[in-house]
């Protein structure tokens, strides 16, 4: 029924605008909607709103941010995949979550990679490994050695089963050839509590929610999952710095539905590039503990494909480890 109406509306739209199909993007009378597949108030939501605020004068068209949270971004991603590819409906996607929803077949997502158009890579980040300040583990290698001696005893807390926090742990297990005892929480708040209380030995957590506890002297970070070090903790070595070949970055990218015109994608991508380069925009991101990392559509597509292959393998490993 929904699709019937969409079809009718689309037909009506095509009818009335048939001669004007060549109209340039963006249509100043029509706002651009950014679907945020997370609840309002979170970091992702705020970063999308900040981007929208700066893109508005850049493109001369009004922006509307609509939150469609739920099902690890599957609800928002579904809405995007069904939107018209005219460039007026975009989404800020969390690449790890988006890829997970369609790679894991049990979730029956009505979309896959071919349902989307990459526009611009926006933010890069990664998780870190945190331990209590007085923990015996001084480096990731200490942790790996301990796990090698006693498999499945090092309790490793994550922000959720099959989450952006779990899969880097699986990657570490795989590369180092050890086994941890994973304990899956519901988000960062209970995970941080559990690490402070000593209910887990180590936590895979985001930088933002860990740094205050490092500053307070309650926690220590022993390894960063990024490809490079983070500006917010410049002394924290990456896992690769510690001779463990694991990198599990998480990234946010602006994407659109499949079938967008190349010119439209280029206009949008260039606008995002210009905005990201502005110092006042950078200040706003820094306040949110976020680091921008612009990629053009083609680079993003390559990066996405590579990321998907790695993610699919990790999900397979995580599933086969379940008994």
């Amino acid at each position: 029924m929904r699709n019937l109406f969409k079809g009718l509306a689309l037909a009506a739209a095509l009818w009335s605008f048939a001669p004007a199909t060549a109209a340039a993007f963006p249509d100043a009378d029509k706002p651009i909607t950014i679907i945020v597949p997370f609840s309002p108030g979170g970091t992702t939501d705020v970063s999308a709103r900040t981007l929208a605020e700066f893109l508005e004068p850049e493109l001369g068209v009004s922006f509307e941010v609509v939150n469609r949270p739920g099902a690890t971004t599957q609800i928002g991603s579904t809405a995007l995949s069904q939107a018209e590819p005219d460039g007026h409906t975009l989404s800020l996607a969390s690449l790890p979550s988006l890829v997970m929803t369609y790679v894991d077949e049990a979730r029956q997502a009505p979309y896959d990679r071919s349902s989307f158009t990459p526009i611009a890579h926006y933010i890069s980040g990664a998780n870190l490994l945190a331990v209590q300040a007085d923990s015996p583990y001084k480096s990731v290698n200490d942790l790996v050695e301990a796990a090698r001696k006693k498999p499945r005893t090092i309790r490793m807390g994550t922000v959720g089963l099959m989450s952006n926090g779990h899969l880097p742990g699986i990657a570490l297990e795989d590369t180092a050839g050890v086994q941890f005892a994973f304990v899956h929480f519901n988000g960062a708040a209970p995970l941080v509590t559990a690490l402070l209380a000593g209910d887990v030995d180590v936590a895979i957590n985001g930088t933002q929610t860990t740094i205050p506890h490092i500053q307070a002297g309650k926690m220590r970070a022993i390894g960063f999952f990024g490809e490079r070090r983070t500006a917010f903790l410049p002394d924290l070595p990456t896992l690769r710095d510690q001779q463990i070949d694991v990198a599990a970055p998480s990234s946010f990218a602006v994407i659109g539905p499949a079938g967008m015109k190349a010119e439209t994608v280029e206009i949008l991508s260039n606008a995002i590039k210009t905005v990201i380069a502005k110092p006042e925009f950078q200040d706003r991101l820094t306040a949110l503990s976020l680091e921008s990392n612009y990629m053009a559509p083609d680079d993003l597509a390559t990066y996405w494909a590579d990321f998907e292959a790695r993610q699919a393998r990790l999900i397979g490993l995580a599933r086969s480890a379940q008994q």
Binding site: S39, P40, G41, G42, V46, R49, V66, N67, R68, P69, G70, A71, T72, Q74, I75, T78, A106, R107, Q108, A109, P110, R152, T153, R155, L161, M162, A181, F182, V183, H184, F185, N186, A189, P190, V192, T193, A194, L196, A197, D199, V200, I211, P212, H213, Q215, A216, K218, A287, L288, Q322
Partner: protein, 506 residues
Amino acid sequence: MSENLSLLLSGFGNALRLENLVFAFAGCFLGTLVGMLPGLGPSAAIAILLPITAAMDPTAAIVMLAAIYYGCQYGDTITAVLFNTPGTGGAAMTAVEGHMMAKQGRAGTALAIAAIASFVGGTVTVGLLAMIALPLTSLALSFGPPEFFALIVLSLALVVTLGSSSTLRGLITTVFGLILAMVGTDPVMGLPRLTFGQMHLLDGVAFIPVIIGLFGVGEILKNLEDPTNSFREAVVSKLRITRDDARRSAPAIARGTVLGFLIGIIPGMGTIPAAFMSYVTEKRLSRTPERFGTGMIEGVAGPESANNAAANGALLPLLTLGIPGSGVVAILMGALMMNGIVPGPLMFEEQSDLVWTLIASMYVGNVILLVLNLPFIPMWVSILRIPYSFLFPVILGFTIVGAYSLANSQFDLGLIAVFGLIGYIMRKLDFPLVPIIMTLILGPMMEGGLRRSLEMSQGDFTIFLQRPITAGFLTLAVVFLLLPLMSGVRRRLKRASTPVSPGETD
């Protein structure tokens, strides 16, 4: 301690500055209005107002957001009592007795006692937060997954043995709620469970649409059986609190405050179990437990104070550890961050000025709410004088906007219709509604807590016996479950002992 006191006093100095008072008033008023709309709870209100407060002076922003937080809770009580349309689980407990009181023409009394109970629960616990926040932190940290699991099991045991649900129909409702709670992504494999291919169910059955449907829409459907005969004849706009009301409410408020605060400081528990536990306690301690469900004032006073006390308790992990204790607090924390304040363990030291102003303004907010709301009660109650045929479409309209705007989801709108029908049928067939609310909240907590505990111990169940708090709670739960069975057996034995030979009564 004296240092804290002087900091608190300077906090009051900040909170009582004229411009901050104005923001507190505005926040209370706005919060009450938004809270009255089912579905638009404090999280929605604070999220909506975040962009506005981001542009304000941090102190004023915090003062206003705290006031909104309280205002919403009180606003929710108003619609819960008047129309049986609670927008949160906490107010659902108030609705049970409060709406029955409204039907007897005691809506004013119910609202007044709710306002006073909220005030006491709020102000006393603000004081507790200021005095003993730091020592309590270690208590909050001693609640790991096993303790959490045990406490949830104890709560579930209380739901099962709760007077009204000890009947067959009560048990059916409890189990039905637990089955609903199983819908979603399971905590063991992370795979869809009982979702029937519907992605909107991957996070489970959304809680607020279920409450709105069961209570709000179900109530309207019941009233539409005979729309001319609504209860407005019974409206008495006086808000008289009799000596008897006061005598019965005072101990309930005291107990609710302590209980609510203790439950609130445990990260992840939230206000709903607090309100519920208080209700159960009042019912158990009452000399007339069978009259609960007919408009007992203790059932309004206790849960209301517990609700507010727990809401304040949930701020403890935020203030001392920088960890949000509930969803609303998480959004409050987002507001702090947008104002350039990083919540964390150092907040009490580095931003002590602001923290104490927040604590003081919570106190001030409670006072403002009380003075703001008591005079308005006759006005709220007089809404009931509007003929029902004009009133119900307006209420339905609010539930529609509320349910949709939670997640901009058409599916949630469908849910309120489906659960409205279920709520109507349950009312007709005399199935209690409250167990569903409780089990829907507690079910996933129980399963998640069990799984996490066993992940910690790698499948070793002795983890539940090694930790004293856990073992204690679990023992209590077993006792609560066995008590009714034992008394039942004893009664049967007594009845059977005379005519039947002793050998058969084993």
